[in-house]
């Protein structure tokens, strides 16, 4: 194992680092949980994506709390939060910002768009025109905005939480697969349980829950946590496993489009965050397999036969998981 020189970014996180991370993450989860009742798994995945430095796509029918979750997450961090309501007439410059003429200085001055914030909530992203969607997605990847030849770096940390309705809803422009690929994970909110819904009625009936929400962490700490997550150890067997999973999606007959190399990257990064959240300085196959569905499913395109047969992308990921063996540790 030591014969192959490997470039480790840093020493694995020390126990106190992971402790701090776990405590902070738990505070986040609890805080968001006061607003989103009974969705601990979804909140947890959202926190994992945040710690892994990725972007999150929330997809579900209207009214289940997508926007509430994204806003709650944003407010829990003491940083700048921006919200963009995507509509068909939204222009790219509304997102990125534009240069305006300042008569006083007789120069063009850059006015920042809505994307300049630590957490950007892109509400109903699939209601905007593809042109505008592209503008946002470019920012997500590049983490900078280029207007008139000048690049303006975005804040750090920078996380986009986009929500979208399922494609069959009226008046939507589905995200192209290349753009979906930029989101680290997609989670579906799902309807709350009957009890949770009743509790929600009692608590949220009269007040705005978001109004009471106070930040529990700050931008600096989140940036540190993201850096800590990056040092979580990934054994060669785990890398092989992640690659085997994404490779298997590329050869699955049920898929027209498999997972990209970027998907592999996202999968391992998310797995690192999950390991860190469990106080482990190393990634387990379970981290990878648990996150495979949220990280991979939204990037896959089903083949026509599979669509006719009623398959969902998540089912294909589960099939791949049951087919691909965890590689031997290699000793």
């Amino acid at each position: 194992m030591t014969t192959t020189p490997r470039r480790e970014p840093a020493a694995p996180p020390a126990p106190d680092q992971t402790d701090e991370l776990v405590v902070a993450a738990q505070r986040l989860v609890d805080n968001v949980g006061t607003v989103i009742v009974g969705k601990a798994d979804v909140v947890r995945t959202a926190v994992i994506v945040l710690l892994a430095g990725g972007h999150l796509l929330l997809e579900d029918v209207p009214g289940v709390g997508k926007t509430m979750l994204s806003k709650a997450l944003a407010r829990s961090i003491d940083g700048s939060m921006r919200r963009i309501q995507f509509t068909p007439d939204l222009l790219p410059s509304d997102v990125t910002g534009s240069s305006v003429w300042d008569p006083a200085t007789r120069t063009f001055e850059f006015r920042q768009g809505a994307v300049f914030g630590n957490v950007v909530v892109g509400d109903e992203i699939n209601r905007a025109s593809p042109k505008t969607q592209s503008a946002l997605l470019e920012c997500m990847e590049e983490r900078q905005v280029t207007v008139d030849g000048t690049s303006y770096p975005l804040d750090d940390p920078f996380m986009v939480v986009a929500t979208q309705n399922p494609l069959e809803m009226e008046g939507t422009y589905p995200l192209p697969e290349a753009q979906r690929d930029r989101f680290m994970a997609r989670v579906a909110m799902g309807y709350p349980s009957a009890d949770a819904e009743a509790a929600m009625l009692r608590e949220h009936g009269s007040t705005d829950p978001l109004a009471d929400l106070v930040p529990v962490t700050d931008v600096k700490q989140v940036a540190d946590l993201v850096a800590t997550v990056r040092t979580v150890h990934v054994a060669p067997a785990i890398e092989k496993y992640a690659v085997a999973l994404t490779t298997a999606t590329r050869s699955s007959p049920r898929l027209r489009l498999g997972a990209s190399p970027r998907a592999t990257l996202h999968l391992v990064r998310a797995a690192r965050a999950r390991a860190a959240l469990e106080r482990r300085p190393y990634v387990l196959p379970d981290d990878v397999s648990t996150l495979a569905v949220p990280v991979l499913a939204h990037r896959l395109l089903l083949s026509p036969d599979a669509v006719v047969a009623g398959w969902q992308a998540a089912d294909v990921v589960r099939e791949v998981l049951s087919d691909v063996r965890v590689p031997d540790p290699g000793r």
């Binding site: 694995p12 798994d41 150890h233 054994a235 067997a237 785990i238 300085p281 190393y282 990634v283 387990l284 196959p285 379970d286 397999s289 648990t290 495979a292 569905v293 006719v308 047969a309 009623g310 398959w311 089912d315 589960r318 099939e319 998981l321 049951s322 087919d323 063996r325 965890v326 540790p329 000793r331």
Partner: protein
């Protein structure tokens, strides 16, 4: 033990067992099962060669060629009678010899009904069958992986004895065969899973669309339907082409014993003809020996005393009988000085056997019959009959005490010429062909006394005269039939042999009669009990010697169970012959008779009687089974010991601890999925041991150690011995006693290679992934 070598070995063992058990289906057909021992040895050689060549990495053509070569070599060496080059390489002579053996077996099988008396040819043929079966099974199962299709072949083979026995095949043989086949199917299951049906996949991969799954189902069941149709076709066709099989329904001749009251009652000969020609397998009689009596043979119904133009008849018996009571007539002609033995048999006549004649072993001295009204015993014949109007003995049970004369040769040789009272037993009709007397004189030219003449006649029929046995011969004992039998064709069955010899004896002045009854029974399941079937019916001549009485002879040849009988014969053991110093051929006891093959046959018969031939086979099978049973447990123990040994590499120690727990769980039938993460693998065990907090903690410790050793950047070794010990104990405690026993004797972790273990927990695994 390498997993693939172990698998090869197991397949080989099951192939061998299947070949032997399939061969065992033939054992009820023959009196002696020696063929099975020989076949089992040859089959073992063939299978072993296959295992060795396969283990050495030989490819399919090499394996098959090696096995075929060993098969040929073995058959040539064992049954080629030295015709092969260096004893093992077949030559044209070997082929000729094989043809001759096959022909002899075919003729032999046609001549007798089961159980066929044993011959060398029969043993060779059946043993060869077992060996070739082993080859075929091995090639089909281990090489071509057509184990399911193999069922067709075996069915066709097993149909032959099953048909001949008309469904009376021993259940045990069938069950053993089925078990061996099931075993072979089990060990080769994963080989052909893809060829014969859809592979079992996880729930996650189940097609959602019912149409899709239905199509898959139909596609998968096509081979199964094909097998079923093929099996039915074979089951229908094989009986039609098997010699002697199914005769009863092909020619429509009913074989129900004694179905015609008139004929059955008055003339036992007709009963005999019908039963012999119909090859009736009906059980007509059951006899149980008491007081260590010898095996009942030559069980007589009646004796025919008169010979007329149309042949032998029972004659005029008016006034010759007396009411059966405690006081039976003395045995005719037996002087008090002649040694005798007594025996007692309990006899039950089957309800379907409507005989007017009471079956018994000659000579009866006491008969205990519940309803003896209208039952007469003939004073000179000592045959016992019921008056026609009073019905038959069907369904009767009775005890008969018999006295068997055991005269010395001197007694027989010095017997005076028959007295005037026996004159009616030398009468021959005027129409008797001259050939009878001419042949008799010719054959007995060298003999000086009546007994030697009788022996000469017997030898001539059995050995020197070139007679052949065939049931195809025209029945009867009429003068034309006998003339043709003695001159031209010399083909007949017991009726012709018996009547011809009796007539020839009469022409020489020796009083004679022809008795009709049963030759010998088959051993029944119960020890000391014998069942007599229609096919065992027989006719034999009896000659009278003054001072000794009626002595039976056996002119019917056949290298067969028809050993020359005598009522002097108390047992088949020649040691008990009264005068061992005399010429052994002089005494017409079976064991010393010169009749071809009879010595073997008798030995064989004795062996079969005592069940002796099964002992070595059973011992060999038992020994192999014991060794086979001990191997997996030994391998398992060795593995456990090796894993417990000290390790230099801490990671290896963790892996060994993990492997030990995995194997323990597998042995105890707790699911363990390979190729998933450690905590998913152990999930079923954790669920099983959920009530035990120490075990939960131990599992956590073990999983953590394994995960760290595999995936963490640094691994700090932990001592896992106590953890493993506790988990092994807890696992064993969580299952039933039977599972524990199974784990100790047949550990699955050794018997089933990891990649072949069906992931019964795949469902759980996928579910766990859904979280």
């Amino acid at each position: 033990m390498n997993a693939s070598v172990a698998h090869t070995f197991w397949v080989g063992l099951w192939v061998w067992l299947l070949a032997v058990t399939t061969g065992a289906a033939f054992s009820p057909l023959v009196a002696d099962s020696r063929f099975l021992l020989e076949g089992a040895l040859g089959a073992a050689a063939v299978v072993l060669v296959g295992v060795v060549v396969r283990a050495a990495g030989g490819r399919r053509p090499v394996v098959v060629a090696a096995q075929a070569a060993v098969t040929l070599g073995w058959l040539t060496a064992a049954y080629g009678a030295g015709t092969g080059i260096a004893g093992v390489i077949p030559t044209p002579d070997t082929l000729e010899r094989a043809g001759a053996l096959a022909e002899a077996t075919y003729l032999h099988a046609q001549r007798y009904a089961a159980p066929v008396p044993d011959t060398a040819a029969l043993t060779a043929t059946l043993a060869a069958l077992v060996i070739v079966l082993a080859l075929v099974i091995d090639v089909l199962a281990a090489e071509l992986r057509w184990t399911p299709a193999l069922g067709l072949v075996l069915l066709a083979v097993v149909m032959v004895p099953a048909t001949l026995l008309e469904g009376r095949s021993p259940l045990l043989v069938f069950v053993l065969g089925a078990a061996a086949y099931a075993g072979l199917l089990a060990v080769t299951r994963n080989d052909d899973g893809r060829a014969w049906g859809p592979r079992v996949t996880a729930v996650g991969s189940q097609p959602r669309d019912p149409v899709d799954s239905a199509v898959g189902h139909v596609r998968a069941s096509i081979p199964a339907v094909g097998i079923a149709i093929g099996a039915i076709a074979v089951a229908l066709v094989v009986p039609l082409v098997t010699p002697t099989a199914g005769e009863s329904f092909l020619d429509g001749a009913g074989s129900g014993a004694g179905s015609g009251i008139g004929t059955g009652l008055d003339n036992p000969v007709l009963d005999m003809r019908r039963n012999l020609r119909g090859q009736s397998r009906d059980v007509l009689l059951t006899m149980t020996e008491e007081k260590d009596a010898p095996r009942p043979r030559y069980v007589r119904l009646a004796s025919m005393q008169s010979v007329g133009d149309q042949g032998w008849t029972l004659g005029d018996r008016v006034g010759a009988g007396q009411q059966l009571d405690d006081d039976l007539p003395s045995v005719p002609g037996l002087n008090p000085g002649v040694p005798t033995t007594t025996a007692r048999y309990r006899t039950a006549v089957s309800p379907g056997f409507e005989t007017r004649w009471l079956p018994h072993v000659y000579a009866p001295t006491a008969v205990r019959l519940e309803d003896s009204s209208g039952v007469e015993i003939n004073r000179s014949m000592l045959d016992i009959s019921r008056l026609p109007r009073l019905g038959s003995f069907a369904g009767a049970s009775y005890d008969v005490e018999v006295m068997v004369a055991r005269p010395t040769q001197a007694d027989l040789r010095t017997a005076p010429a028959s007295t005037l009272t026996m004159s009616s037993y030398v009468d021959l009709p005027s129409s008797t062909p001259d050939v009878v007397n001419e042949r008799a004189e010719e054959v007995t030219a060298g003999a000086s006394n009546a007994f030697d003449r009788a022996l000469a006649l017997q030898r001539w029929f059995r050995q020197d005269g070139g007679f052949k046995y065939s049931l195809a011969q025209r029945p009867g004992s009429g003068m034309e039939t006998i003339e043709a039998f003695l001159t031209d064709d010399r083909v007949g069955y017991c009726e012709q042999f018996a009547t011809a010899m009796a007539m020839m004896a009469r022409s020489l002045g020796i009083p004679s009669r022809v008795s009709v009854g049963f030759l010998s029974g088959e051993p029944a399941r119960q020890k000391g009990t014998w069942v007599f079937r229609g096919t065992a019916m027989h006719a034999w001549p009896e000659l009278y010697f003054a001072g000794v009485g009626w002595i039976g002879f056996e002119p019917t040849p056949g290298g067969s169970g028809y050993t020359p009988p005598t009522f002097a014969e108390g047992s088949a053991d020649p040691q008990e012959a009264p005068d061992p110093s005399a010429d052994p051929t002089a005494l017409p006891t079976g064991a010393a008779s010169p009749a071809p093959g009879s010595a073997e046959a008798d030995a064989a018969g004795d062996a079969a009687d005592g069940g002796g031939s099964w002992v070595p086979v059973a011992l060999v099978v038992l020994g192999l089974l014991t060794v086979a049973l001990a191997v997996p447990a030994a391998v398992r123990t060795a593995r456990r010991r090796r894993r417990r040994a000290a390790h230099d590499d801490p990671a290896a120690a963790a892996e060994d601890a993990w492997a030990e727990v995995r194997d323990t769980a597998t042995d105890h039938g707790i699911g363990w999925t390979e190729g998933v993460s450690p905590r998913t693998s152990i999930a079923p065990l954790r669920a099983r041991l959920d009530d035990d907090p120490v075990a939960r903690e131990a599992i956590d410790t073990l999983v953590d150690a394994v995960e760290r050793s595999r995936y963490a950047p640094v691994y700090e070794p932990a001592d896992l011995t106590a953890v493993v010990d506790h988990l092994v104990g807890a696992t064993a405690a969580s299952v039933t006693r039977r599972q524990r026993l199974g784990a100790a004797v047949l550990p699955r972790s050794v018997l089933v290679p990891a990649e072949r273990r069906v992931g019964v927990r795949e469902e759980d695994e996928v579910l766990s992934l859904r979280e």
